[in-house]
């Protein structure tokens, strides 16, 4: 039995997959564990081999070399040579005969590669692969969640390490966050990583110079600047502005094993979201992470206990003073500042400024409701539910079309309407980002439908639209219920004084409207553990009216009805929606 883990993303992702590798080794003793990585990660092979992991390298340069050769340009010859390179690379992998393939790369190339390897060996796959018609296949729920909900500008708060573990089907323990180089005690060195994978994720070079100048006065040990070779020029520019024998510029000069050793021995790492910060997680080294909206610290932030995150919408908004004060505080055992995010007890502790931030909070709670059994959240104060109404209307329209289709067979108008529904659904997040998690969930689940007969596809698509209808109904019914309850309160205020004067004529229409609302409410199902108070109070009112005791009717309206109106807000099914059903349906689907 052999398992292959494919991790062909960036450097940092490989380190974030490390706990999953440890967990796989732990949970599958005696089974072969293989890992496929890119060439630039080959240097880590020694560490991985020492862990009992067999490492395979994707020889990208060799495979693509024919396209760059001086004699290149001969179409068929270049392609054939490159394809031969792929076949040569695949041969030893095919020879292993994997029983399981876990693709943690989330990329098109890796999905075709997974399909190729799994097709030959019949391996069980998790992670992106391909259907037999070549379309993307996402076999497991965790990868589907990642596809739909992870990334910049989204509201996912599951860390990538946890998502990787979930794709692999393993539970991580604290011991899984370890690396063979994690030995000995921490020193007093401060590591500074000045770069990041993108400029928008990086702290401005001129601000780094001031931070370094401040650090020279604030720390006792050496200050080692680390980074990749392409960050060398930037580091030299920064260092030219700060003269100190305690600053060591090692950018582009360290091997991976040296970097691991430095991170392991450091008292603190300061830097943006990048590979050294991910290494620090494995080394148990605290990180002062500079983060902004261009990254999602929930997904890729440092996990070592006691790490802190300074967050601003843009990097340059994090002041030099903040960085220096927080670094000094961390080195001296001080308390975090009030704007700092702290990694504590295995979770990120948010400052007040971020704790109730909307729409982020709503978005995250909505994700939990969609994918777990959590309750659907209230819309943020002041937010419009219009997009959810549209969602409901579109889902209802689609279900109606499928129903007609079932009875009357396919028709051109139904097809046109369904195409329009698709188009309008795709546009809804642009109208209101609050609906994006639902639309992304729905579209991903649709994408997951495999090749099948027209009838099966129709049935499965209709079922998904029905699930969408239930989810949208939560907010559709809630808004409708609130509107009706507000109207009922106004009508009570209008009708009760007139009833006391036996003036039924002037309020006939209003009273009728009030009774209709009450009858609708009385007929609406409630949450399981809540008794619907409307039938009882409605019966009493009708009894008073039959006896023509309008004074008692007015008393009932002003006292009992008003009390019930206040009480049922948040309790009746149209306020809570059919949450239980919607939860179950979404959870079943995922």
């Amino acid at each position: 039995m052999a398992t292959l883990v494919i991790q062909l993303a960036r450097f940092g992702d490989v380190f974030q997959a490390w706990p999953t590798l440890n967990a796989l080794r732990r949970s599958q003793p005696g089974e072969e564990l293989h890992l496929l990585v890119r060439e630039r990660f080959a240097e880590a092979a020694a560490y991985l081999e020492s862990m009992g992991v067999r490492v395979h390298i994707l020889p990208t340069r060799k495979i693509l070399a024919p396209f760059f050769s001086p004699a290149g340009g001969e179409v068929l010859r270049d392609e054939a040579a490159a394809l031969n390179g792929i076949f040569d690379f695949l041969q030893p992998l095919h020879a292993v005969g994997f029983s399981r393939i876990i693709n943690l790369s989330f990329s098109p190339f890796s999905s075709f590669l997974t399909d190729e390897l799994a097709g030959a060996s019949g391996a069980v796959v998790s992670g992106y692969t391909r259907h037999n018609d070549g379309f993307l296949r996402i076999p497991d729920d965790s990868s589907a969640y990642f596809f739909a909900q992870a990334g910049i500008g989204k509201w996912n708060r599951y860390h990538v390490c946890d998502i990787f573990a979930s794709v692999a089907g393993v539970e991580l323990t604290p011991e899984d966050y370890s690396h063979p180089a994690r030995v000995g005690a921490k020193g007093n060195t401060v590591l500074v990583h000045i770069g990041a994978s993108q400029v928008s994720k990086s702290y401005p070079p001129e601000m780094w110079a001031d931070v370094l100048r401040g650090l020279v006065h604030a720390v006792e040990g050496a200050i080692v600047i680390v980074g990749a070779a392409n960050e060398r020029a930037m580091s030299e520019g920064i260092c030219s502005k700060v003269r100190s024998g305690r600053i060591l510029n090692r950018v582009g000069q360290s091997s991976l094993s040296e970097l691991c050793r430095w991170v392991n021995e450091a008292a603190l790492l300061i830097g943006a979201d990048s590979a050294p910060a991910q290494i620090a997680t494995l080394m148990g080294t605290r990180v002062l992470n500079l983060s902004c909206a261009a990254v999602n610290f929930w997904e890729t932030g440092p996990l070592a206990e006691g790490s802190r995150i300074l967050y601003a919408d843009e990097m340059h908004q994090i002041s030099i003073g903040q960085v220096l004060a927080e670094a000094a505080s961390m080195l001296n055992g001080g308390r975090p500042s009030e704007n700092c995010i702290v990694r504590q007890n295995g979770a990120y502790q948010l400052p007040v400024s971020l704790r109730d931030k909307e729409p982020e909070n709503f978005g995250w709670k909505l994700l939990q409701a969609l994918y777990t059994s959590a309750d659907y959240p209230e819309l943020p104060a002041g937010a419009s539910s219009l997009a959810f109404h549209r969602l409901f209307d579109l889902a209802e329209l689609a279900v109606d079309q499928f129903e007609q289709w079932r009875h009357e067979g396919p028709s051109a108008p139904a097809k046109t309407i369904l195409e329009s529904v698709d188009e309008m659904l795709a546009g809804l997040p642009g109208m209101d980002p609050l609906v994006r998690p639902v639309v992304d969930w729905f579209q991903t689940e649709r994408l997951r439908l495999g090749p099948a007969s027209s009838e099966e596809t129709l049935k499965a698509t209709r079922s998904l639209f029905e699930q969408l209808l239930w989810v949208a109904a939560v907010y559709h019914r809630r808004a409708e219920g609130n509107r009706m309850l507000g109207r009922a309160a106004d009508l009570v205020t209008l009708c009760a004084p007139r009833l006391r004067e036996y003036d039924l004529n002037s309020i006939q229409d209003s009273f009728q409207e009030l009774m209709t609302i009450a009858s609708t409410a009385a007929a609406a199902p409630t949450k399981v553990d809540v008794v619907n108070p409307w039938p009882e109070v409605l019966n009493r009112l009708q009894s008073a009216l039959e006896r023509r005791d309008f004074i008692e009717a007015a008393d009932i309206l002003e006292a009992d009805w008003t009390e019930v109106l206040n009480r049922v807000r948040g309790q009746l099914s149209w306020e809570g929606g059919r949450e239980g059903d919607a939860n179950r349906t979404a959870a079943d689907a995922n």
């Binding site: 993303a9 990208t60 693509l64 792929i86 990329s107 098109p108 190339f109 075709f112 018609d133």
Partner: protein, 63 residues
């Protein structure tokens, strides 16, 4: 960007265009066969080099 890098990128773009045409032809005539899969692999490998983008999320755009 240096001349060499520009030249490499140009070569890659041309190779990608040719591969896309070859793959499309095979998909149209023979469906998603093993040959098509190999060509798609090569095609995506080239695309990753060109965009130099974050490969993690890039599947989103291809369906």
């Amino acid at each position: 960007m240096s001349d060499n890098a520009n030249d490499n990128e140009k070569k890659l773009r041309e190779a990608l265009a040719r591969l896309e045409a070859s793959t499309r032809k095979i998909l149209d005539t023979r469906g998603y066969s093993r040959d098509a899969r190999s060509l798609k692999m090569l095609e995506e490998m080239l695309r990753e080099q060109l965009t130099n983008g974050y490969t993690r999320n890039s599947t989103r755009s291809i369906r």
